[in-house]
Amino acid sequence: MLQQRPDVRRAVEADRVHKSVYTDPAIFDLEMERIFERVWIYCGHESQVRKPGDYYTLQIGRQPMIMVRGAEGEVNVLYNRCPHRGTMLVGDRQGSTGEFFRCSYHAWTFHTDGKLKNIPMMESGYEGTRWTRENPDCNVKRAARVENYRGFVFASLAADGPTLQEYLGPAKIAFDDMCDRAPAGEVEIVPNCFRVIQNSNWKIFLENQLDALHPSVTHQSTGRAAHEVELDIAKKTGHAPLSYHMLSAFATVTIDQWDNFQTLNYPHGHCILTGYMGLRPQDRDTLDYERVLAKAYGKQRKEEILSTNIHHVLLYPGLSVQSPLQQLRAVRPLGVDKTLTEIWHFRLKGAPEPIYRRALAYYNLVNSPSTMINADDLENFWKCQQGLTADGGEWVSFHRHYGHDIARDGMVETAPGMGTSEAPMRNQMKAWAEFMDKA
């Protein structure tokens, strides 16, 4: 029997979206098939797998995958599945497999590029069958395409489609901004991943990432508390660490001020939110760092790098990069109402320790499982998910500043003084509809 496919075309209009997009399991399955298992998905950073045999597992759509460093130094992305009986080749989240994978069920072995190495007693056991070394089904299946941009590894499970750089377009500035801030021009992973589950649809998280209207409401309590203590410390010692400002900005930047920022919206759903935290104070640590950077790049280039005005970049459909603080959140949808975020921090190679410490404070305070920021976001996401199942209305509204956005050169930017435009949500859903419409 043919399964009824949901009619996604009718679910998306220019200024509103049908609630089923967030709640219908059939739509979720189609999203996995037509978006996550086709487009470029972030796997991890190459410094997560330094030596041949080092691996890291991840989920692309519904597929369990292994990112592994190959014998030649290349990074491979394989399906975590033994071609014999379907056993996962590795069960740990990360580790080293040595020179080859060895299935724990029947000891079949595979090279780190996926090629069959050996099957015990292959000659006697498979003689006369079609299971021969020449049969490509004997190998571990590889992701159709793997590309690396400045150390960040992406895979696409579709053989055809735009290259990674074509797909990311101008949004690849997320990685340029992060890496250029390193005097050595590259970053390396900080070996820890915070993982937090959201009981809500993955799109709710993406929409919130660029929702400049919400911080002063959602994060009022934390921003205010941090601001009070920030003032206390300043009174006692002259000045409070920057980490307090990172938290207090959520409240001191008031709701009307958020309109002064801007979002830049690109094809495929990508978006940049411009900066607001003012992370370039003139303290000694910053000035030391600027000197090192100027030495590496020259004064003019240093100035260009540091004046890149980004808060964070959303790389649709599964990555939010906060380049000035060297952290990112990868989105792994687990179900229509369940989403895992993997949160990573990176070190700027060649930058002085205090610069790393400053970003680390943000990683600990905002992105760790004890976050005083996301605690209230997750609460709202959950409430959204619950409320959207209700019959109290059919549509989700993205009307804010609709009709005022400025479209040019293939992108859409918010008009001056209209930074809280829901343009990013409209842009994401436009891309979503395009992806979902392709059989």
Partner: protein
């Protein structure tokens, strides 16, 4: 180190909140064992620490257990300021991101908070617009397996290991966290204070369903 035991007990008594049954109980026990506290100061010298007299060891064990119980009670009773007051001015509450970590400095941590950051956390949960604090929410801590470990080479410091189990109920869901505490305790005129509390949760490495709003 010299310390008037009577005075420290009085201060401890003053710090306890009136009307709280469990706090009262703790207070009483501490007073009863104030001589134990003095006994501990004798064992605090390096030579004697290895072989404390049995009676002294028992009393010290008891006093420390009461301290840990009182700390747990302040969490379950949501008496956040009392909890913060148990730390020294330079004290830290630390929950490592990975069990192999040896310091909270310069590494990712689930919590690494001094008293100022603890103030932020407390004021946040007390703010009427801390949306996620609104639902019915409570915790229950059990602390056990208390081992007074060593003087840690520092004359004024006592290292205490223990195990905990924390059950949390929030909205419709219960969560369980279990693991170990390591308390680095110092004597002050006000009684023991925490220089460093390390909290290793056995399930800290898994994905978190929702977050940890307050210290465990």
């Amino acid at each position: 180190m010299t310390m008037a035991t009577g005075q420290s007990t009085k201060k401890r008594k003053a710090a306890a909140k009136p009307g709280n049954e469990s706090a009262k109980r703790t207070k009483t026990t501490l007073r009863k064992n104030s001589s134990g506290s003095a006994a501990h100061q004798r064992t605090a010298s390096a030579q004697e620490a290895n072989a404390p007299a049995p009676a002294d060891a028992h009393t010290l064990q008891h006093v420390i257990e009461q301290f840990l119980y009182a700390q747990a009670e302040s969490l379950d009773g949501k008496r956040w300021q009392d909890y913060i007051n148990l730390f020294t001015d330079e004290g830290h509450y630390w929950m490592p991101a990975a069990p192999e970590q040896t310091t909270g400095e310069g590494v990712p941590s689930i919590f690494y908070e001094d008293k100022n950051l603890m103030q932020v956390r407390m004021r946040r949960v007390q703010h009427p617009d801390a949306w996620s604090q609104r639902p019915l929410w409570g915790t229950n801590h059990l602390v056990s397996n208390v081992i007074v470990e060593s003087e840690n080479g520092k004359k004024d410091e006592l290292v205490v290991r223990s195990r905990f189990h924390m059950m949390e109920f929030r909205r419709e869901t219960s969560r369980h966290f279990g693991g170990s505490y390591v308390h680095h305790l110092v004597h002050t005129p006000d009684g023991f204070r925490i220089r460093l509390q390390r909290v290793d949760m056995v399930n800290a490495q898994g994905p978190f369903e929702y977050v940890l709003q307050i210290w465990v």
